[in-house]
Point group: C2
Chain length 171, copies 2
Amino acid sequence: MDEEREEITRFFKKSTFRKKTMIMKAGEANTLHYYIEKGLLRMYIIDQSGKEFNILFARERQWIGDLGTPAETPYFIETVENSKVYSISEENFHILYKRYISLANYIRKSYVFLQKRFVSILSKTAEENYEELVNEHPDLIQRLPQYQISSYLGVTPVFLSKILAKRSKKD
Amino acid sequence: MDEEREEITRFFKKSTFRKKTMIMKAGEANTLHYYIEKGLLRMYIIDQSGKEFNILFARERQWIGDLGTPAETPYFIETVENSKVYSISEENFHILYKRYISLANYIRKSYVFLQKRFVSILSKTAEENYEELVNEHPDLIQRLPQYQISSYLGVTPVFLSKILAKRSKKD
DNA sequence: GCAAAAAAATAAACTAGTTTAAGAAAAATA
DNA sequence: TATTTTTCTTAAACTAGTTTATTTTTTTGC
């Protein structure tokens, strides 16, 4: 497992980014996959009206990237904190997940995670989704500005603020 | 490729189901994966209030199943039309996608599809999502009752009916 | 530590979508 | 083809979440 790790590492390029650096941009093709050593990143879209929606946050020991590559991506990826990441091209990524099933499993896990999130957004209120986030990922609440969380929950900052005001009265 | 196909086939069990048959039920563990030869199936959840939300439709030459298995599933799968399907256990499914990358790619494609759908639901109005469905999958509009489509779009049947009334005035 | 900028809170008017209910139309079954 | 069941439509009152604008609080850079 350790030499597997070492061999795998040779496919990657290490980079450091200051926070709020855009590392992937809608319209680009043949984008990279990123594995995060340190920091916090977000993947988002910008809709017709210019509004941002966060699709995914990724932090230490997690992956982020557009699995639709090499097709032109509709997504943006930006660092939220100063971050250290390893990047890999689609070609090499493909070679690796052919060879090491653990990497194919990352894709499967991503799917399961997204499906769960999808169901929550679809069937629950923003208030319930906020509670869920607090319970399952309290660290994200600390590390993210509130307007990034609202965008992840699919509501406006104004509405999340309302939820929080109501919530703090309850204690 | 043909002997690959033949070998793969040996892992599967063929079944036929009448429409409206439930073949997977929330609460079950170690659920099967299904490959559809003929027919139309839907995967859905039932929320706290008893409301159904369709997560996925799958038809000829598509897969359906809970990729979170062997964990207890929160999903239901039901035939919408009379259907012929091949089922496979998680163990065998895993063996196969270790051996044949095409199967691992199915998971990747599923992810890409779900992410696209997620973004649409999050950032577009129900009306826009309906138009998108009509354009990209007109066949589904034909094969599904309207209330199943509304559940897929995340709105009530009443609201979809309103959208359609408004829409038909426009021509 | 101060000034400027960014983020969060509050309010009020608005809109997309829900709920409940009742009737009409279409499909399934006898 | 008549009857029953399922699906769809319409209407009206409602609610979750948006929009725009203003003020307050917090963070950042010099």
